[in-house]
């Protein structure tokens, strides 16, 4: 009887241990993270040290991103979108191709710039050294940074001149790539798929509304916007279009998207002169011009 009870207890214990092990599979333990405290970052002439950012991380970041960098800070339940989980080393704002790690400079810029439409503010009061140290600290949370290198930044060709033809070509691309399905025909983030979108962790996520605000998630410049759809926003439904569009087409799309924003830009003025109307998804594609 006692033997059976003992066996039962052992089986139960083993089951509990296995369950705990499987639950933590793939996650980094605090012990592992401590080993990676020697992680460095390199931004220009700056070298950041994870160990130097311990206090700053605790002071500024823990509340949202959590002590273990798992995005489970005390405020996480109340935030939308949720804070980044650094342990999986997946980042939206990159200059590198989709699926790759960002450069140290990408993370460095994100800290200073903040992330629009989120609770992440611009931490531009930090010194450069503080930011570099925090980049190293962010990296120390994930094993991925120990085994993989950052991706190679994509090349952003020089911006072409803003012309009516390019803006119209960009609008045609907006329709062909079906950007409107998420972002809506007017770019208001209200496309037919908008309410069904989820991120990689199956949490609801809203597409960007171009009419709301002047900044994008990952920057304010045309080059930033170019990078967003050539690298994608990893972890979100926004894919990379690097394999689908040519660089010059990407620039056309950038110029068209600028016409949707509230600022009075050159692109917007040209769109006004053209009398550019929102796309009609059901309209047939214009016939190709006859060959001469």
């Amino acid at each position: 009887m006692r033997t059976n009870r003992l066996k039962g207890s052992l089986s139960l214990g083993a089951a509990v241990i296995l369950t705990l092990l499987s639950a933590s599979w793939g996650q980094n333990t605090p012990g592992q993270q401590e080993k990676w405290m020697g992680t460095e970052s390199h931004i220009g002439n700056l070298t950041g040290h994870a160990s130097a950012a311990k206090t700053d991380y605790r002071r500024y970041c823990t509340g949202c991103h959590g002590d273990l960098g798992d995005g489970q800070g005390e405020n996480a339940p109340w935030l939308d979108p949720k804070p980044r989980d650094f342990t999986i080393a997946q980042f939206k704002c990159r200059s590198t191709p989709t699926g790759t790690l960002p450069t140290d400079e990408d993370l460095y810029n994100t800290i200073a710039r903040g992330l629009d439409n989120s609770n992440m503010p611009p931490w531009n009061t930090f010194t450069k050294q503080q930011r570099a140290d925090l980049v190293a600290y962010v990296k120390h949370f994930s094993a991925k940074w120990q085994s993989e290198k950052s991706g190679t930044p994509i090349q952003v060709p020089p911006q072409p001149e803003v012309t009516a033809d390019r803006i119209q070509a960009g609008q045609a691309l907006f329709k062909r790539l079906e950007c409107w399905k998420c972002h809506g025909v007017e770019g208001r983030g209200n496309g037919p798929s908008a309410d069904t979108l989820t991120d990689d962790l199956n949490r609801p996520i809203k597409p960007f509304n171009f009419h709301d605000g002047t900044r994008f998630k990952c920057g304010t410049s045309n080059a930033d916007l170019y990078k967003i759809f050539m690298t994608g926003l990893d972890g979100t439904p926004m894919p990379s279009f690097a394999d689908n569009v040519k660089p010059e087409e990407a620039w056309d799309l950038v110029l068209y998207l600028r016409t949707l924003q509230p600022m009075n830009t050159k692109e917007k003025q040209i769109a006004k002169q053209l009398g550019l109307k929102p796309i009609d998804p059901n309209a047939p594609a214009p016939a190709a011009a006859p060959q001469q």
Binding site: Y60, W78, N119, P122, Q129
Partner: protein, 448 residues
């Protein structure tokens, strides 16, 4: 002279009592709104760090497109209260006490016991993107309320951080904020340098630590490294109801911060307060003149000025706040009461002038534990009344202590505060000797 000294001693005590437990701004309501811990904005609450200063300069906005109230749950109301139950011991030597119906003697008076600070209700934030406000009804320990701060602000006009305009009653743009002071005793609850006046000086309008009524322009760079502000103020020391005169003052400040690598960010700045204040008040039947619209019967305005340099120096966990200030009042303010400017200045009176020096040191062991000390020295460089001992009124103040924050969340603040302060003022005891006071405070400082 003896009665002057007795009055001065009394005035000092009144000043100490008035300055006791000045409340500071620290808003868990902001932390709740944005999901940031207190430590994100405060070096140790209520003292701001550079990020918190930028947040304030932006009109209590993080500038992340979530600043408008529409982003908040409709039930959110940005209100915070703060109070400090405490035990304190106060001691002052050379207090005149009766020994019989006709005789007095000086002796040390020490009192101690459990007590309360005043209560503050802070509410502030945005009415809309780039329109912010702050309202602070504040009470003394007996529960008598007044408006410590009431202001609305237009932020980032024309999209520029260099254009912000504030109207109401507010703290001057002091680079070392008295309203966010970390020291709490009856002696250290204010910066002596911001309030000091030489013996007999009757101009109480130049107290930069007091919130003032007026309009303020403030501009700053995007990362807040460069800051400049100018304010036009009613010379009323923040009292509502037009109680004093049709006089105005100006307050100007400019500062620049520098990135000093691994040490952090240092800041140096300059400020000046210049203005006019009344030297007499009209009376009717010996009492103050009153109209349906106020008791604004002051006249004979004369000038005063305060100029200072400020430095905030960081060396990793150690930082120093340094301040030096020069003060000048018109000779008409050299005595109490002041000499009416509609009559000739009594012979011999001169402009009282003085210099103040202050160094406050913090050792931030962690975001939850800070050790601090402050030393202040006020030196009269010219007495207003000839024949007054040159060092009379000179003041030394020292305080040291620590604050321990056992919790560090975005919902509430709690600190165990322990501090000892000591003050000595030359020649102001009834017997003409130095007057010395000390204060010990242990308390739970909390807000929610």
């Amino acid at each position: 002279m003896t009665s002057l000294r007795r009055n001065l001693a009394g005035a000092l005590l009144v000043l100490l009592v008035m300055s006791s437990f000045q409340r500071a701004h620290a808003l868990p309501a902001f932390a709740r709104k944005y999901g940031l811990r207190c430590s994100a904005c405060h070096e140790a609450w209520p003292m701001l760090n550079y990020f918190g200063q930028k947040f304030k300069d932006n009109g209590y906005q993080l500038m992340n497109d979530r600043d408008a109230p529409i982003w908040q749950n409709p039930s959110y109301w940005p209100v915070t209260f703060r109070i400090t139950p405490l035990w304190h011991r106060e001691s002052t030597d050379k207090v005149s006490v009766d020994t019989s119906a006709t005789t007095t003697m000086e002796r040390q008076i020490t009192s101690h016991g459990f007590d309360l600070s005043g209560l503050d209700f802070h509410t502030g934030g945005t009415l809309e993107k780039n329109i912010s406000f702050y309202v602070l009804p504040s009470s003394n320990a007996a529960g008598q309320f007044h408006f410590e701060t009431v202001m609305a602000r237009l932020d980032n006009l024309f999209g520029s951080p260099w254009l912000n305009v504030k109207l109401g009653k507010f703290e001057l743009d002091n680079l070392i904020s008295e309203k966010r002071i970390l020291t709490l005793t009856n002696i250290s609850g204010v910066y002596q340098t911001y309030h000091f006046r030489p013996p007999g000086d009757s101009n109480f309008y130049g107290q930069m630590g007091d919130n003032q009524l007026g309009v303020e322009y403030l501009g700053h760079s995007a990362n807040d490294r460069s800051r400049v502000s100018a304010a036009l103020l009613s010379t009323s020391d923040g009292q509502v109801g037009l109680p004093s005169s049709n006089a105005y003052s100006g307050f100007f400040t400019a500062s620049q911060a520098f990135d000093v690598g691994k040490f952090g960010v240092d800041r140096v700045g300059f400020y000046a307060m210049v203005g006019e204040a009344p030297t007499f008040f009209l009376t009717t039947l010996g009492g103050p003149v009153a109209t349906p619209f106020g008791t604004n019967s002051g006249g004979g305005n004369k000038t005063f000025s305060r100029e200072g340099f400020v430095g905030l120096f960081y060396f990793g966990k150690l930082d120093f706040l340094a301040l030096t200030q020069h003060g000048t009042d018109s000779a008409f303010f050299a005595t109490t009461p002041s000499s009416p400017a509609n009559q000739p200045l009594p012979a011999g009176l001169r402009s009282p002038t003085w210099n103040g020096y202050m160094v406050e040191t913090h050792y931030v062991y962690s975001p939850q534990l800070i050790f601090l000390q402050r030393s202040e020295f006020e030196r009269v460089s010219q007495q207003g009344v000839p024949g007054t001992p040159s060092n009379m009124g000179n003041l030394n103040m020292f305080t040291f202590g620590y604050r321990w924050y056992p919790i560090m969340t975005s919902r509430a603040g709690f600190a165990w505060h322990n501090e000892y302060s000591w003050l000595r003022q030359r020649g102001t005891a009834p017997d003409g000797l130095d007057l010395t006071s000390s204060s010990l405070l242990l308390g739970f400082d909390f807000d929610f």
